[in-house]
Amino acid sequence: MYTIGIDVGGTNTDGALLFGHDILAVVKVPTDHEDLVGSTRAALEQLLKSCPAGAEIELQLSTTLTTNTIVEGKGTPTAAVVIPGPGLNLDQCGLDLPFHVLSGYVDHRGRVIADIKADQAVDAALEAKRQGAEALAIVGKFSQRNPRLETAAAQAIRGAGLEFSYITLGHEIAARLGFPRRVVTAYLNSQVAAAQERFIRAVQELEEFRTIRILKADGGTMTLAQSRQRPIETILSGPAASVMAALALTRYTEHNVAVVDIGGTTTDLAVVVGGLPVYERDGAVIAGYPTAVPAVYSRSIGLGGDSEVHLTVEEGRASFTLGPKRAGKPACLGGAHVTPTDAISALRLAEVGNREQAVAALQAFASPHGLSWQEAAQGIVDAFVHQLCQAIHAVYDELEGRPVYTLAEFLEKPELMPQVIACLGTPAPAIMPAVGEKLGLPVEILPCSASANAIGSAAARPTTGITLHADTALGQMSIPEMGLFKEIERPALFDQRRARREALERLVEYARQSGLDEVPELDIVAEEAFNIVRGFRTVGRIFHIGAQIRPGARRIRVKEGT
């Protein structure tokens, strides 16, 4: 089976062709922002040359489409209709989007305390339309426990003949607790739906593929059909692809790995524990919007090969700081400013561009401060190493400080600290050995850095997960991801074992719906069980179970010469 992975990035579009676990070819073409499908096509055409005619090919695509649509504000004009009930004043939520409030609410157990008023929903939608909204998001507090009010509002709006190009309901898009994030996620989902639809149509016209899958922020893939329903999940697939590449390429498959991807402008840090990627606790943040979109944990710092170099001299001591902005092209590559890449080039840590130009630029930069170019170059490299080490420490401090809510988790804290640093990016071989030395960790320089995101896209596997919430006192069970809200049969007999079994069976069903032919390993990733006691009597139990397909990447071998 042939697999093509394509990552349409901000500057370049990378492609990789795989046969099984082996890389056959990689390509790089410039990205045309106005025509992402065109960029995809350009990369495809080159890769297909290395592929026998008529071969079965699966295509895995990572694009900046939804990310750019959001960042550039080019999505469909959208409004949110919200059902917040009592609680925090919505004006203080920092919701940077147009919203209309309905009365009615659901409580924390999922009981409808007050119904919505249909005419109020219609008025809100009319008002949204008047203000130019073409798409809607309808989101209620605790709607993942009971979606009735969201559904009723949608029905009222549709029943009144009001048409919107897309309507996202909160419970369909975000199963986790967190109303403001659910509002944002549903809102952005509606905003990017049309752009995703156009993209899908264009992609389908490209070639005949066995399957086409789209990369998600959590490093997994989904089908084109799923990406129609949940286009928002395709945001930030670039950083996710780089983590997947690290998982696919590292020799340390069962270890704790710090993943460092050094680019021109930024360095991205991610974390692997026991061979599995660490995820964001609450969801991805995009363009300042905190969302509920499951995402690979990734922290970006303003430090890279093209970073600005700042020099301060105090009491005869020179100190360098780098970034967070990009200076521009390095002097050794014809740019006007000194950058870390020039220091690397001048010190012969790597062969980059014209070394004489790098030395000249460093000299011009250093001499007014009474420094030699060698001192400046070493100072810059040291600063890079220092700043990167600090950022790595900050990442692990953050993860170690993540709250836990049970004694078991508190006492049996999993070991997160890395055993090895796996690195991607052109400056990595020059910089990372010193970082490893400083942190006392071995460093693995991963091959094929330049095509990492394409390799990551190709290596990604479908991911899917569900959250089961069962309340036997109310006799209700929900799996919002599957749109499943139902009564529990014989709730008195519904125990933890049954809850677990139900979750796993449903996950298999959901995985099949998601186009997975064979069901891989399943994991219960979160489990809570409570007795509901009223008046010194146990009247029921609450179970909360998160289950997912074990995430991971296809292992990839790099042959000599590719």
């Binding site: 009592p86 925090l88 607790l177 967190g178 400080g401 004694l407």
Partner: protein
């Protein structure tokens, strides 16, 4: 912008017994509400992990019989450690205020501990206060305002004779509710007379009453005392739906109370209406701490109750405000000789009941009457569970040299005496806690 650090540790896998009010479920709906509201994404809030308190940190506030290890569970260490972590956030300047939503609670745990009382084993606040004083030094002035519906008798006991800790407890009148203490006459020991302030509220007190007490009584007392830190023991059982008490306070009332009090550190105490009260009260308190609008925090049940405060209750509260206010104003004029005698020691004999553990303790305490310091204290204690006698000698913070040498001699003597199975010497100034088991 007020930064609020939240230490949340609901101990979802710990209970006293599975159907006990202090069970796994207690903070479940609070967690759900806080997460669903998304307040931790607001720039005003940050969530931190608790830590485990060290045994020594617990010992600063307690003498355990027969030993700390005989009683303690990890959940207790994390609850106390959570309070300490909250204090460190504020003292270290990381956050302006901090809130420790931890369980189990602590305010019924007294200096001597034979077992659990009122669901409490370790006094989280006292452990935290002693940690703070080790950092800030002996002159630090700390005010504890306990707004749990039950009298904070444990905290009162620990600070009864401590001139730098003001303890104010608002609670439902002890004649009508556990633990049956907390009357106006309990005003502090000879070295700290007047600094224990009890405000026993009549059953049926609502927002109007509790807020009147805050505004007209608690705030003026605090202004007068000038504490370096204000700590709120935030029990939530004054709520109108609480199953264990008879008050009528709402989430709005609790939030407004918090807004008025402006505590530096909030530590959760009791509160057992786990579904109808806690999610809303905790949310209201957190919003108020951060200076955010809490006016939309309304319990679903609110409309089903008539929460108009009864006229007789209002009058009783007005009378209380006057009486307690007057006591406070005249605390320095009190006739200490008349109250504590003119001998060398002031002696108290008490029977203390441990409802949760079913233990009765008999205790005799002698406080040295000293004109220079608060005076050292000697406690002899035994219980029907641990019959052998324990003797604890407690030095006060700012202990004078005369009291120090007397107390040390006393400890030596007790250590050699056959009467005692266990002896303890507590020296907060040197942060030294000696225990000897024979």
């Amino acid at each position: 912008m007020a930064g609020v650090g939240l230490i949340f540790f609901p101990a979802f896998d710990w209970c006293i017994t599975p159907d006990h009010p202090e069970r796994e479920e207690r903070l479940l709906y609070t967690r759900d509400q806080i997460q669903e509201e998304g307040i931790l994404d607001l720039p005003q809030f940050r969530e931190y992990r608790p830590r485990m308190a060290a045994e020594k940190e617990i010992q600063r506030a307690h003498v355990f019989v027969p030993s700390l290890r005989a009683h303690i569970t990890e959940s207790h260490l994390i609850a106390a450690g959570g309070a300490i972590a909250a204090a460190d956030l504020v003292m270290g300047g990381k956050e302006e205020r901090a809130c420790a939503l931890v369980r189990p609670p602590g305010h019924h745990a007294m200096r001597v501990v034979h077992g659990q009382r009122g669901f409490c084993l370790v006094n989280n606040e006292a452990v935290m206060v002693e940690h703070i004083r080790q950092k800030l030094g002996p002159e630090a002035r700390i005010a504890i305002v306990d707004t749990d519906v039950h009298h904070g008798d444990g905290t009162q006991d620990i600070y009864y004779n401590d001139p730098n800790v003001l303890h104010i407890s608002l609670h439902q009148d002890g004649r009508t509710l556990y633990p049956g203490t907390g009357f106006l006459s309990e005003r502090g020991g000879p070295g700290a007379y007047g600094l224990t302030v009890n405000i026993p509220l009549p059953p049926g007190t609502g927002d109007e009453g509790i807020l009147a007490v805050m505004e007209s009584l608690v705030l003026p007392i605090l202004k007068d005392f000038q504490p370096d830190l204000v700590i709120n023991g935030a029990g939530q059982d004054n709520h109108f739906t609480d199953p264990l008490a008879n008050m009528q306070v709402t989430a709005q009332g609790y939030a407004r109370l918090t807004e008025l009090l402006k505590p530096d550190i909030v530590v959760l105490e009791g509160g057992y209406a786990v579904e109808g009260a806690l999610p809303y009260v905790n949310l209201g308190i957190l919003l108020a701490l951060a200076g955010l609008d809490y006016s939309h925090v309304i319990e679903p049940d609110l409309t089903r109750y008539n929460l108009r405060q009864n006229q007789a209750v209002t009058e009783t509260i007005a009378y209380l405000i006057d009486s307690v206010g007057e006591q406070w104003a005249q605390r320095r004029e009190a006739d200490l000789e008349g109250i504590f005698g003119s001998g060398d020691f002031f002696q108290r004999n008490r029977m203390i009941y441990y409802d949760t553990a079913g233990i009765t303790e008999s205790q005799r305490s002698c406080i040295r009457l000293c004109s220079t310091c608060a005076g050292w204290e000697r406690i002899e204690t035994r219980s029907d569970r641990f019959r052998e006698m324990t003797c604890a000698v407690l030095l006060p913070w700012n202990c004078c040299s005369k009291c120090r040498s007397e107390a040390e001699a006393e400890y030596e003597e007790a250590a050699f005496s056959r009467r005692f199975r266990k002896v303890a010497l507590h020296d907060p100034q040197k942060d030294h806690f000696t225990e000897l088991r024979k």
